[in-house]
């Protein structure tokens, strides 16, 4: 059983290496490798989850080096539940991105660059969850960050380079801080094994402990986008390709939250920073959701709610009780799923209409009922409408806060309820404007957005400044734009427009981007985006699977919350983790 632990880290790395070697050829084999790898990782995670729940933390030592010296990989309840949810989400998003690339007639660039970066990122995420070594956690962060740099700047358009610069610099600074923290930790204790650190921090002078704790906390808070360190997220996430944004939103900030939980529960139990974290959580919740209410772009609105809801998890950790940590874990599991599915739906809206700005959207309920339903369910879930998991997570946190009873905790409970209400306001406003109202006359009538830049237009890239004109010329040559537009609008008018079966070749003939019922609009990247009615079934399937996963937490609410309570108890006891790594004799 222990030998399975490295699989979620090693297998995606090997697959990435294989895919880099194959390059842009063998499309079917490549698709099989990516999806197969992630499916195996999901299966292994499930096995580990069950085993860790039954037997307690599982440990393996990399390279056979014994525990305090080598790198341990530890699969305890917290790590395996995060691993399971993250690999399920990763698999769905991979299916989504493949369907999108296939429908866009883009094979070479996604296969040669997107998939390897994606797999390396997923390996980094798994490593961050599993590692029992502080320096290896740094390496895991770097792995997932370098994957995310590539995904975020994919296609290399101007807005993505700009967003990438912000993102990369913030990530780099936090990495450097992490190194400083590791230097101080190693200087003070002489070890980087987390289990040994947990023992060795206790006798240190209070000031040194506080220094190390605050530095590490700062690093993880930047990663998790907790309030004063959250400004980078809404500026960088929305410009990335839809599947990348969805994955970032679901996983990267949650790696930060996971690290905060680990730090506070294992290394510095009951440290003096609880009050600080409470304030940070309150500010994160309220300022984030106020930002969300001010946005007119769906992706940016979702980015702000992402920041806002990180506050709930930090609140749970800051309570430092079994109920609080259990609530935080439950909320994290819920939020990974819901936020990812919302971003995938935003990607589908963009493919369908050419924009995610609610000013330019309208009447989507009639145009694309399926997308509307797929948006509505997770949006209500995010706002915490009762039987759904968002409500359950918030309920657990509120109960923990009330049980704590201190004025600060009660303030946080009130803040959390206000945030939930404002989240409902933000998503309801988006729903009303983009889906409910009658469409304004200039709303694009049809289709799926294809970001044509990735494959076909990269070859045109070196022509430099002529790019925009080059993108427009096929449209001018393709006859009057108005005729095309009216032809399109006829399409979705019929009942079941989106489900109308059409061959992919009909959407956009290869080499003639303006042909058929495709239509050029200005996308977020400023390049031509082609919209069409048909949505590839795997995209809908992947998104629907994530939405269903989010709903299944309601069905499984009993076992799930019992599991999170066991997780929290195991975390706060600390002993199971330490003795599993260092041997029970210690």
């Amino acid at each position: 059983m222990e030998s399975l632990i490295p699989v979620p880290v090693v297998l995606p790395l090997l697959a990435a290496a294989l895919k880099l070697a194959i390059g842009g050829r063998l499309r079917r084999t490549q698709a099989f490798i990516s999806v197969g790898t992630l499916a195996v990782v999901l299966a292994v995670s499930l096995v580990l989850l069950v085993a860790a729940d039954r037997q307690g933390p599982l440990v393996t030592n990399a390279g056979g080096w014994p525990a305090p010296f080598g790198i341990s990989l530890v699969a305890d309840r917290l790590a395996t539940v995060m691993l399971t949810v993250s690999s399920a989400v990763t698999l769905c998003v991979m299916v989504f991105s493949q369907a999108q690339a296939y429908a866009d007639q883009e094979q070479a660039a996604p296969l040669a660059i997107f998939h390897p970066a994606y797999l390396i990122m997923s390996a980094g995420v798994s490593d961050a969850f599993l590692t029992g070594d502080l320096f290896n956690l740094f390496v895991a962060f770097e792995m997932l960050l370098s994957g995310s740099y590539v995904l975020l700047t994919f296609g290399g358009t101007e807005s993505r380079v700009r967003a990438g610069a912000t993102y990369a610099v913030v990530a780099l600074v936090s990495s450097m801080l992490f190194l400083v923290a590791i230097a101080v930790t190693y200087g003070a204790t002489g070890t980087v094994s987390m289990a040994q650190l947990a023992e060795r921090f206790t006798p240190l002078p209070g000031s040194v402990r506080l220094l190390v704790e605050l530095t590490l906390l700062l690093v993880f808070v930047v990663k998790a986008a907790v309030f004063p360190m959250s400004g980078w997220l809404p500026d960088s996430y929305p410009t990335a390709p839809a599947p990348a944004t969805a994955l970032f939103a679901g996983l990267l900030t949650k790696v930060g939250v996971y690290s905060i939980i680990r730090l506070e529960a294992l290394l510095f139990p009951g440290g003096p920073v609880g009050g600080l974290l409470m304030w940070a959580a309150l500010a994160t919740m309220l300022l984030g959701v106020l930002g969300a209410a001010a946005q007119t772009d769906i992706k940016r609105m979702l980015s702000f709610t992402l920041v806002s809801h990180i506050g709930y998890m930090v609140f749970g950790v800051a309570l430092f009780s079994v109920g609080g940590v259990a609530g935080a874990v439950l909320y994290t599991v819920h939020h990974i799923t819901v936020q990812t599915s919302l971003f995938l739906v935003a990607g589908m809206i963009e493919r369908r209409t050419g924009t995610t700005s609610v000013d330019r959207l309208g009447g989507l309920l009639g145009l694309a009922p399926l997308i509307s339903v797929l948006f509505f369910i997770p949006a209500m879930n995010l706002a915490g409408i009762p039987p759904m998991s968002g409500f359950l997570g918030k309920l657990a946190l509120v109960r923990a806060g009330v049980a704590d009873g201190s004025p600060m905790a009660l303030t946080l409970v009130a803040g959390g309820l206000v945030t939930s209400l404002l989240t409902l306001y933000a998503v309801a406003m988006t729903w009303n404007r983009a889906f409910w109202r009658t469409p304004p006359p200039d709303v694009p009538g049809a289709g799926t957005v294809l970001e044509g830049e990735e494959s076909t237009e990269d070859e045109e890239g070196p022509e430099g400044a002529e790019g925009p004109e080059g993108a427009e010329s096929p449209e001018g040559a393709g006859g009057s734009e108005g005729a095309e537009g009216s032809g399109e609008r006829g399409g979705p008018g019929g009942p079941g427009g989106p489900d109308e079966p059409r061959g992919p070749g009909e959407i956009r003939g290869p080499g003639e981007p303006g042909a058929g019922r495709a239509r050029g609009t200005e996308g977020i990247t400023g390049r031509e985006i082609v919209t069409s009615v048909r949505m590839p079934p795997p995209m809908i399937g992947a998104t629907a699977a994530l939405v269903a996963l989010g709903l299944s937490y309601t069905v499984l609410a009993g076992p799930l919350s019992a599991f999170t309570v066991r997780t929290a108890a195991e975390l706060l006891a600390r002993r199971p983790y330490i003795s599993a790594v260092l041997g029970s004799g210690r």
Binding site: F135, F138, V139, E142, S146, Y149, V150, T153, G156, T157, E158, S159, V161, R162, A163, G164, A165, T166, A168, V169, L172, V173, S175, M176, L179, V180, I182, A183, V184, Y186, G187, G190, V192, D235, P238, A294, Q295, T296, D297, R300, G461, G464
Partner: protein, 271 residues
């Protein structure tokens, strides 16, 4: 244990220089900042993680005098990672140069849009508030006018009623007097009296008409003044709205100009 002051000071200098370079907008300077910062941090790790010693190679050094090998392994890892990130940043600099001819990191346009939108909303709200105030003013003045009008009509009616009553009274008195003294008075005296009474009545009617005319004139003037005032208020409001629009446009223009300047390759590098 003695504190190795010199390496720590060197590391602090590197980190400080790197951090200040990171605050620049130019990607190349950012890159230099990242490299300096990385070096400073690596130096810090080596310095603080143990006393110096012999190379940690089995068979060449005595195990008791070896330096700790773990921080060296960590520093090697972090050097490799810094190199990878540096390569990525370099490629981003190149791409940025390809696309825009420069390597400055621009402001987020969506942020700017949201900010401008809020400004727009504020101005629109101010205009709406003024319009509401103006409507309230006009409604108040109209009500006042109607009240005055009604009061005037009422007064005129009252006066006319009074006048009729007086005439009737005088007529009745005259009849009585004629009945009492009819025989005693000669008819010419009666006719004279009647003419006198008619004259007096004429006089009072003229006077009444004169008063009504004056009141009407007064009222017309008031109405003219009100209309004048209304026009003036309207004009002021229009001017205010025009001014607000101008300000808004100027803000947008300035913003566009700023962006154009930031994107202008001719102006690169003179910040």
């Amino acid at each position: 244990m003695s504190v190795p002051l010199l390496p720590i000071a060197a590391s602090a200098t590197l980190v400080a220089a790197g951090a200040s370079l990171l605050l620049e907008r130019s990607l190349v300077r950012l890159l230099a900042g990242v490299i300096l910062l990385g070096n400073g941090v690596n130096l810090l790790i080596v310095t603080v993680s143990g006393p110096p010693g012999d190379p940690p190679i089995l068979g060449r050094s005595a195990p008791g005098r070896m330096a700790d090998p773990l921080p060296q392994a960590m520093v090697l890892t972090s050097i490799v990672i810094t190199m990878g990130v540096t390569a990525f940043l370099l490629s981003m600099v190149h791409r940025s140069w390809q696309l825009t001819g420069g390597d400055e990191v621009q402001d987020d346009t969506e942020d700017r849009r949201v900010r401008l939108r809020s400004q727009h909303d504020e101005i629109a709200e101010a205009v709406r508030e003024r319009r509401r105030a103006y409507r309230r003013l006009v409604a108040g003045q109209r009500a006042e006018l109607a009240r005055l009008n009604a009061a005037r009509h009422e007064r005129e009616h009252r006066e006319a009623r009074e006048m009729r009553r007086r005439i009737d009274e005088v007529g009745a008195e005259l009849d009585r007097w004629v009945r009492e003294h009819g025989e005693a008075l000669p008819p010419e005296r009666i006719a004279e009296r009647r003419a006198e009474a008619r004259r007096a009545e004429e006089e009072s009617r003229r006077e009444r008409h004169e008063r009504v005319r004056r009141i009407r004139e007064d009222f017309a003037r008031r109405e003219r003044e009100l209309a004048e005032h209304e026009r003036e208020v309207r004009e002021r409001l229009k001017a205010r709205r025009r001014e607000a629009r101008e300000r808004m446009r100027a803000a947008i223009r300035a913003d566009r100009a700023r962006q154009a300047r930031a994107e202008d390759p001719d102006l690169e590098g003179d910040d």
